[in-house]
């Protein structure tokens, strides 16, 4: 395998980690918005995602540094062509993180907490929508065969039917992921009533995911035919896996098989994401900027591969420690 391809796969893995873990966080915000003023439900969401949310979002920064170190020209083109949607997503991420950070801090009063929650929820919905729309837009411009008079990409239309569908799909996926995480965590801590509420949310959002994952190829067939050809071509196995996993997740939720429901919704996310990657590989943005044409020099790519190795060696054990510490019950330390 060539070095650019290796780095591209590392980038894909990093983006997948971001999409799943941060996606669950975004979803938590969406569920929080849906929970309205029911404090028990909102506390359940906060308890499930509180300790680890910060670490999840580091995957985004890591993905960005890989992207601009390894494929600088593609990073530049992305920033230029998608200035608007990326700026909106960025604002949403920041508002979201800060609202959550302040809400869980001991400083918040109930009234301020409610305002911060609404802000948190709205921003949690906007960010994945923008990312989903960007992904759809990129797939549409990158998978189409080269045509005359399109030398470079200076603008990527991100408000087309296909991009809007993928944006909505991203939102639904995030919400379903979060519902499956919270439901499982509630079952494990013995809170059956709350678990039931989030199981229902999981069913509702899961149904949306299934509908939208059927709708996306259908919309592609008319609005973005190039993507459609990729989806029934090289990406077909992933499309099938995604649809099966989505159905499985619904079924598992229905039969109260919580761990299976969570696993299947994670798999749905992975399949959708890699379906996108495969449908536009090896193009990063447009058909001229590929992982090969925009790759940095060999030495730079080698250095990034080593840095990525360092992340695996250091971060994965630390990540394990984090989850292990929070899986333990609290110690009773005498004051």
């Amino acid at each position: 395998m060539s070095l650019p391809a290796l780095i591209a796969i590392i980038l894909g893995v990093s983006l997948t980690a971001y999409a799943l873990f941060a996606g669950a966080d975004f979803g938590a915000g969406i569920l929080d918005l849906l929970a309205g003023n029911r404090d028990a439900a909102r506390n359940a969401i906060a308890a499930t995602i509180g300790p680890v949310w910060e670490a999840n979002h580091v995957w985004l920064i890591f993905s960005i540094t890989i992207l601009f170190s390894a494929f600088p020209a593609a990073f530049a083109a992305l920033g230029t062509a998608l200035l608007a949607p990326l700026t909106i997503a960025l604002l949403a991420i920041v508002v979201r993180s800060v609202a959550l950070g302040l809400r869980v801090s001991p400083a918040a009063t109930p009234r301020a907490g409610a305002t911060l929650s609404r802000l948190f929820g709205a921003a949690s919905l906007i960010a994945p929508f923008m990312f989903g729309a960007v992904a759809g837009a990129l797939a549409a411009v990158s998978s189409s065969p080269p045509h005359l008079g399109a030398p470079a990409v200076s603008h990527v239309p991100w408000t087309g039917a296909f991009a809007l569908t993928t944006g909505a799909l991203a939102v639904a996926l995030c919400a379903q992921l979060a519902a499956s995480f919270v439901a499982l965590s509630m079952v494990r801590s013995g809170q059956q009533r709350l678990a039931e509420r989030f199981r229902v949310r999981g069913l509702q959002t899961g149904a949306c995911v299934c509908l939208l994952s059927l709708a996306a190829p259908a919309v592609a067939a008319t609005a973005a035919p190039a993507v459609w050809h990729k989806l029934i071509g090289p990406a077909l196995p992933l499309v099938i896996i995604g649809l099966c996993a989505g159905a499985m997740s619904l079924l598992a939720s229905w039969r109260r098989r919580y761990p299976l429901a969570r696993g299947a919704s994670l798999l749905t996310g992975v399949a959708v994401l890699w379906g996108w990657f495969v449908s536009q590989a090896p193009h990063l943005i447009g058909h001229r900027l590929t992982i090969h044409s925009t790759a940095a020099t060999h030495a730079a790519l080698g250095a990034i591969a080593i840095a990525a190795g360092a992340v695996l060696l250091l971060v994965l054990p630390a990540m394990y420690l984090l989850f292990a510490v929070f899986a333990r019950p609290e110690l009773e330390i005498t004051k």
């Binding site: 890591f62 170190s69 508002v95 990034i304």
Partner: protein, 450 residues
């Protein structure tokens, strides 16, 4: 693409203002992100050693503030990583492959930090006291590592190495040579010391205000003592590192040196301008004391060495903001000198008695030192960033060539400025509310026992 002529500020100015605002905002949180973990570790370590509950109360209080600052700092850092591509895509296309290594390593360090922040902040009641204290070390270490990696990238922008340009294309990239360019050591240590100092003076300042309001107890005294101990050790070191960094600039950025030191015309055996405020129409002569030959000695180790004046550089290659660079530099050095004097004064006076000086004047000086130390950090970055103009990479790549071709920067600049105003208000509100809560886990008797 150019902004329409009716725009209030130009396309380039809007982009530069937006990233400048983002960096100044982020710097405040980055500085505390580097400094506070060390202070928390010291306080928690003192608690483990002495069993004194005041230390634990301090560590817990600081960790709560840190939680808020870390959340905001992570968000403002994310903004900058995006903005590099959104505002300066052509610069990133040029430089990304050369200085990507430190950015990727910074990603790894930030990752570790975020994970252990989770463990530390939520782990007070889940880990043994010793294990909890130990879980703070990776935070302090990776925070310094993050600052180190990012500043090596900035050092590269000032003294670019490790690549060649052949037919307009970047080739022969040596990521290690780029990262360990001639400025890496002095710039990174100046930043890390600066962060520790600002945090120490910031903490001392908060508690000095408390004492001025009459809260003269062990809690306040210990906080000031630990903060000013750190300051007393680091402040003189920072002066020495600053001098070394000045030499780095003299060796590699002659145009920047001329702007910093206010050298308009080339001088053989150049004197050091002390004061010399660049007011309009006065050409740097306002309140100036010139120490003969000192600049040549400081910058070039030779009392008769010539220092190039700003007017020997083509107009297109000198910073258009030279007076501001000079002002920022005077401000930074002036504040630094004052801070050294203050920490020495505190420790000289403390030697005589067991308690540090608590007269109104000293406390007021300490109270003012915190904001001043943060200001010195901001001014130092202004010197680095404005002093390098018109280059984004000194001598090879112009800032105007790096800006995006996408329109609408006026709008994004406005949006982000509003965001920062909101974020500042929220942060201040939140930290003030934490500060207003009674100190937990501390019997009143312990507070009084001074």
């Amino acid at each position: 693409m150019h902004a329409p002529p009716t725009a209030v500020i130009s396309h380039l100015t809007a982009g530069r203002s937006q990233i400048g605002t983002s960096l100044s905002f982020h710097l405040f949180f980055a500085v505390l992100g580097v400094g506070l973990p060390l202070m928390m570790l010291v306080a928690e370590g003192m608690h483990l050693r002495t069993g004194d509950p005041v230390w634990r109360a301090l560590a817990r209080r600081w960790s709560k503030v840190f939680a808020v600052l870390f959340a905001v700092g992570a968000a403002s850092g994310t903004i900058i990583s995006f903005e590099l591509g959104l505002l300066f895509p052509r610069f990133m296309a040029y430089a990304g492959g050369i200085i990507g290594l430190p950015f990727s390593l910074e990603g790894a360090a930030f990752f570790l930090e975020a994970i252990f922040v989770g463990i530390y902040l939520y782990g007070w009641n889940r880990l043994s006291p010793r294990a909890h204290w130990l879980s703070g070390f990776p935070i302090a270490i990776s925070a310094v590592a993050s600052a180190f990696f990012i500043v090596t990238a900035n050092a590269w922008m000032n003294v670019p190495r490790g690549f060649q340009i052949v037919h307009g294309h970047v080739t022969h990239v040596d990521p290690l040579a780029a990262m360990f360019n001639p400025a890496w050591a002095t710039e990174t240590s100046h930043m890390v010391f600066g962060a520790y100092l600002a945090t120490a003076f910031g903490i001392a300042s908060v508690y000095a205000i408390g004492m001025l309001r009459g809260r003269r107890d062990a809690y306040h005294r210990k906080a000031i003592a630990v903060a000013l101990s750190m300051a007393a050790i680091l402040a003189p070191l920072q002066v020495a590192v600053g001098d070394l960094l000045g030499r780095t600039v003299a060796d590699h950025q002659p145009a920047t040196l001329a702007a910093i030191e206010g050298v308009t015309h080339t001088e053989r055996g150049a004197g050091l301008n002390i004061g010399g405020f660049p007011l309009p129409g006065h050409n740097g002569e306002v309140l100036n004391v010139k120490v003969p030959h000192l600049l040549s000695v400081l910058a070039l180790d030779n009392p008769n060495a010539p220092v190039r004046g700003l007017d020997t550089f083509p107009k297109a290659n000198r910073t258009p903001l030279a007076p501001y660079v000079r002002l920022a530099f005077i401000g930074m050095v002036g504040i630094g000198t004052g801070l050294v004097a203050l920490s020495l004064w505190y420790w000289l006076r403390r030697r005589r008695g067991s308690v540090g000086p608590e007269d109104r004047l000293t406390l007021m000086a300490i109270a003012g030192a915190g904001p001043a130390a943060f200001l010195a950090n901001e001014l130092g970055w202004l010197v680095s960033e404005l002093g390098r103009q018109p280059w984004i990479v000194y001598g090879v790549f112009r800032t105007s060539s790096g800006i995006t071709t996408s329109p609408g920067l006026g709008t994004t600049f406005t949006a982000f400025t509003l965001l920062y105003v909101g974020l500042t208000a929220l942060t201040v509100w939140s930290v003030r509310r934490i500060a207003a809560r009674p100190v937990e886990g501390l019997p009143v008797a312990a507070m009084r026992a001074a």
